[in-house]
């Protein structure tokens, strides 16, 4: 018995008959292959494919029916899409796309099935064991109720006056969801943590921070939710993750120290970087998102990174890139997995610290807030300054001699909650907007510190109410008369585009979306 393992997801219909024939004839199926019988390859989502790798599989094969012979019609086509996307992500992750294969067989093709299994097993053996170690298991909280009490007092939830201002501001409540931050706060204080509605609602909150802004007692409800989630997850609560927990899974695999990630391998060579620079550009997870959503939303959020680098180059900054860059951990921290957030943070810190970096520039508001605020709050010191690229640009443009090409578009702006509210800097992107498009920029009804969320945060709790909220938001954007929605966070772009896919509302919700960095990169020039 070898010490590597291959998971074989095998469709019940076509290939399983071939597999059985192999078993019946006592054929020598490689003994490291673990077969899992499934009803249809089309139902094995990217999350399930990936989960096997998260759990330490060395290879995964999805084996189904030949195109055209799928019992359900589109199963094989779906499987092709899922495998292609997941392979792209494995590549970026440094695991290598060839650890995942799709193969199709007719029931009578047992010979070629056996050949495939032997070949795949040899290939995987050649690649060696997977560098992924199963991530830190959630450690149950010893005294859950005491821990909850501590979180309640740490965020001074007792100060709640029951005034209801939070519920009257919460975009989820306003979208008609039977959900109230005030009610959650009261229920938790009253010891009602196990009530089904609390268990569900804790994962629905968008952690957008709007209620905190309105609360006369300054109850930091989103921070409270963040900490409560960690306790509940460790006590076995369902985390209501969207996309089958794919993203949390992805981020947890990055906690494996031996994994040699390749987050920048796609970058074109006309962007100028310098490994010796004291300025580091931290990109974030946009390239992973683009692959995941390639066939559905066709987002191109990694353009934000390219345009950021171009803008840095414009001002003669040739930053270093961190070849070991891992996810900053934002989504794990905010979706109840602090232990693995800490591991990611530590790995990033270890990779950054001995490089003599003096300043980290990032274009992602989540990375910005996480590196700047949450790393130090968890005792992780990067030993350098954290700058949002908007601050850098504002400072450079302000020096003068820089102009912007006029553009014949009407703009409106979606505030990123991490920058506009958590960091309380709604003016920063607006200063830049007013430089590029002083006469064609119009605010939505709710903007700046009062802006409505894009609909999701940390990939949890996406439901029909958050969808309703997104529809409301896009309608607000459209009713400004603008034809270009400017965003400043890759996630805002992803979630809002997702809402625009609504087949019933169709054109009514359609609007071009562009990141502010890309807008700036297109318009800026030396005078």
């Amino acid at each position: 018995m070898t010490d590597f393992n291959i998971i074989l997801f095998m469709c019940n219909w076509g290939p399983h008959a071939a597999y059985q024939a192999l078993q019946d004839t006592g054929a020598s199926i490689p003994d490291n292959v673990k077969m899992v019988r499934i009803p249809c390859t089309g139902r094995i989502s990217k999350a399930l494919l990936f989960k096997s790798f998260e759990m330490g599989a060395n290879g995964v094969a999805l084996v189904g029916c030949e195109p055209g012979s799928c019992r359900y019609g589109t199963g094989t086509a779906n499987a092709q899409g899922h495998v292609e996307d997941t392979r792209g992500i494995l590549e970026l992750l440094g695991l290598g796309k060839d650890r995942l294969q799709l193969a199709t067989f007719l029931p009578d093709e047992s010979g070629s099935l056996l050949e495939f299994l032997k070949r795949f097993s040899r290939e995987i053996e050649g690649m060696g064991p997977s560098p992924i170690r199963p991530a830190t298991e959630l450690i149950p909280v010893a005294e859950r109720d005491r821990a909850i009490e501590e979180v309640v007092s740490a965020h001074d939830v007792y100060a709640c006056q029951d005034c209801g201002k939070c519920s009257s501001a919460c975009p989820l409540t306003l979208a008609g969801k039977p959900f109230s931050p005030r009610a959650i706060a009261n229920a938790v204080i009253a010891g009602d943590i196990d009530s089904p509605s609390v268990q569900k609602d804790v994962w629905a909150c968008l952690t957008c921070g709007l209620c905190y802004d309105r609360c006369p007692s300054a109850v930091d409800f989103s921070g409270f939710i963040r900490d409560l989630r960690d306790i509940l997850a460790r006590s076995g609560s369902d985390r209501h993750a969207s996309h089958g927990e794919f993203f949390q899974s992805l981020m947890r695999t990055m906690t494996s120290r031996d994994l040699e990630v390749r987050p920048w391998q796609w970058l074109s060579s006309d962007v100028r970087t310098d490994p010796g620079s004291k300025t580091l550009f931290f990109g974030g997870c946009a390239p992973y998102f683009d692959i995941f959503f390639k066939n559905f939303l066709r987002t191109r959020t990694r353009e934000i990174l390219v345009d950021s680098l171009r803008l840095l180059n414009f001002f003669d900054v040739h930053p270093a890139l961190l070849k070991e860059e891992r996810c900053c951990g934002h989504d794990l921290l905010w979706s109840g997995d602090r232990a693995n957030f800490l591991k990611l943070a530590q790995l990033n810190a270890d990779a950054i610290r001995d490089k003599g970096v003096e300043e980290i520039i990032t274009a992602c508001p989540e990375c910005y807030s996480t590196l700047r605020r949450d790393y130090p709050a968890h005792g992780i010191d990067l030993g350098c300054k954290i700058t949002h690229i908007f601050d850098f640009l504002e400072q450079e443009i302000d020096k003068g001699a820089v102009g912007f090409k006029g553009l014949d578009r009407q703009l409106t702006f979606q505030d990123p909650c991490r920058l506009s509210r958590l960091e309380n800097r709604p003016h920063l992107p607006r200063r830049l907007l007013n430089r590029v498009a002083p006469n064609s920029f119009k605010e939505m009804k709710d903007s700046g510190i009062s802006a409505i969320c894009c609909g999701n945060s940390a990939w949890t709790g996406c439901d029909s109410f958050s969808k309703a909220l997104q529809v409301k938001r896009i309608r607000q954007a459209r009713s400004t008369g603008s034809d270009l929605l400017i965003t400043a966070c890759p996630k805002c772009q992803i979630h809002l585009r997702c809402a625009m896919e609504d087949p019933f509302l169709g054109e009514e919700l359609n609007m071009e979306v562009l990141d502010l960095t890309s807008l700036l990169a297109r318009a800026i020039h030396w005078e």
Binding site: G400, A401, H525, W526, E527
Partner: protein, 199 residues
């Protein structure tokens, strides 16, 4: 044309011009101080006022040299800094062939001048910084970055040394703004020359 990138010539003649109240003479004096005290060179200043002390045309003629200066009047400036239209109209024909022209973007229209010049909205920036009076200091920062006639440190020290007590920091910030603007202009020229005007 000279820019900060080029070697200092041993003798440089400069005219600062504008209207009374803009601090033209003070700018000239600071420049001379920077050359003498900070950079250990020789310098002279000749000041000329128009008919009215306030509001009328005025100019400061500054010479900077590595050797003793025997004749302090500037007839053919290497650098002409104009903060008023009247000043431009009066002095532009005296500027040396290939000399550097620096102007306030909003106050001067370089009519009839078809060569490259350097402009900065110094008065507007001063207003943004909260004091219109500091336009001269901003212009001085711009001048320093563009011409390299004096070193940045010497000029900044001369500024903080010459302005009223309590306003040193503000004026140093104004100087830096002008200087940064000048560096940005030079960078822009370089990028455009290399055919890389956009991002």
């Amino acid at each position: 044309m000279m820019t900060g990138k080029e070697k200092k010539t041993s003798r440089l003649e400069i005219i600062f011009t504008g209207f009374g109240g803009q601090g033209i003479i003070l700018a000239g004096r600071i420049l001379g101080k920077a050359a003498v005290i900070g950079d250990h060179r020789e310098s002279t200043l000749v000041q000329a006022y128009g008919p009215e002390a306030r509001g009328g045309a005025c100019s400061a003629q500054v010479t900077i040299s590595d050797r003793p200066i025997h004749y302090p009047y500037v007839r053919r400036p290497d650098v002409l800094v104009c903060m008023s239209q009247g000043g431009f109209d009066k002095f532009i024909d005296q500027m040396k062939e290939g000399g550097a022209l620096l102007i306030d973007h909003d106050l001067v229209q370089p009519r009839g001048f078809d060569k490259r010049f350097f402009s900065i909205p110094s008065t507007r920036i001063a207003e943004e910084l909260g004091r219109k009076m500091m336009a001269n200091i901003i212009m001085l920062g711009f001048f320093t970055a563009i011409t390299g006639a004096v070193s940045v440190e010497a000029a900044r020290d001369a500024v903080t040394d010459s302005v009223p007590k309590g306003t040193e920091e503000m004026n140093a910030a104004a100087f830096n703004r002008g200087c940064d603007y000048g560096l940005a202009v030079l960078k822009g020229l370089e990028k455009k020359a290399a055919g890389r005007a956009g991002a």
